[in-house]
Amino acid sequence: MAGKILTQFAIIAISFFGVWFLLGRIEYIGDGDVQRFAKESERKLSEIILETITATHDEVDNEKVKAVLDSIKVRICRAEKLDCDKIKIHLVRSSDINAFALPDHQMVIYTGLLDYANNAEEVAGVMAHEIGHMEKNHVMKKLVKEIGIEMLFSIAAGDAGNDISRETAKILSSTAFDRKHEREADAFAVESLAKADIDPQHLSNFFFRLARKDDIPEELAWVSTHPDTKERAAEIIKQKKEYTYNSKPIIQLPWKDVQKFLSAGEEAEETLTTVTQDADTIAVEE
């Protein structure tokens, strides 16, 4: 009798897991929807979101600083054997300490982050983390989950209003990915930094410095969008032990000089704005 009971139980269990397995082969949602969102639509969506961001913040066109960011990007991409050209970096003037990924491999970095960083390696850590989100397709998954595929199609087609585009930009710049995705991006960052001979300790230090601030000011946007900072910093230290690397500097320049380029650019822009305003005033007077 006991044998009969066990056999029948085994048949029920096998049929349950069998049905589950077979039904699991069918694409219902998730990745399927994300893939459905064609590359072209993703590009248009990214353009619209970027327009929304640059409508309120100036895009910085400082060649020296851009060259530094590019050299960081190339170092990470080469280490991970990624196509460097497909990742585009947009440096935006804002005192917020923030960086985030957009669809179509676009990355936005605020000047506030570069001001706050102690060295190029810390910036590399943040960039590697954001490239991790891009490579794991977290950006589109997050947008599909929070906004819905149909709404994304209408934003990309230009049918949605400015408010919706602004809201989408806000979701990407000021809300966190879920914890699983953050940890995946952290793991990617540690791996790519180690492969690029950049010490992942710098990213951990950056996290610790942010976490040490008891009262998080509004400008520390990257902390509010990246919760559990202390735990993750500790996890990075743990993970980095799995890799061997020979730490090499990214740039020869002191980081302070890069920050000076930024502030010099800001002053130059301010002078240019004043000159343009003066010229406008003269033109109006005439």
């Binding site: 009798m1 006991a2 009969k4 009971i5 029948q8 139980f9 048949i11 029920i12 349950f16 049905v19 589950w20 397995f21 039904l23 699991g24 069918i26 694409e27 219902y28 949602i29 998730g30 990745d31 399927g32 998954k141 989950k145 879920d178 914890r179 699983k180």
Partner: protein
């Protein structure tokens, strides 16, 4: 999955009604207790407790109704907590999750149909013997 077999004696009308009610109890509780998967088990459990000193036919069917609820309880609880982790936690809706929900819906419908079949037939005094749960009840419920 469920068949009518001969029983040691022919139950009277009162016994048939009680035995049938044990199945009906789980059906009503399923409707009342959704989406909490524990309610139908609790209802069947209380009914079994109140009838554990009843006749062999009544006890046997109360036990079979209770055991058949246990399996769907396990499946539904997993689905319930998985859903909660998606709503309040970090999990996301995936193909595996949807497949699981469809699977438990199929198994719940099968169990629901078996329960109705058992309720109708035990009311007529017939001895309904479920696949797997029948032999298991035989082991637990001794005359």
């Amino acid at each position: 999955m469920a068949e009518v077999v001969s029983f040691a004696y022919h139950p009277d009308d009162y016994e048939s009604e009680k035995a049938s009610n044990s199945y009906l109890m789980s059906l009503i509780a399923v409707i009342a207790g959704l989406p909490l998967p524990i309610v139908n088990l609790l209802a069947t459990g209380f009914f079994w407790l109140s009838n554990r000193k009843g006749t062999f036919f009544v006890r046997w069917h109360c036990m079979q109704a209770l055991l058949s609820q246990l399996l769907v309880l396990v499946m539904n609880s997993a689905g319930f907590y998985w859903t909660l982790s998606i709503i309040f936690g970090d999990n996301t809706i995936s193909n595996t999750y949807i497949a699981y929900i469809i699977t438990i819906v199929i198994f719940n419908i099968a169990e629901f149909c078996m329960t109705i079949y058992a309720a109708v037939n035990t009311r007529k005094g017939k001895h309904v013997y479920f696949w797997f749960f029948g032999p298991l009840t035989d082991q637990i419920c001794k005359s």
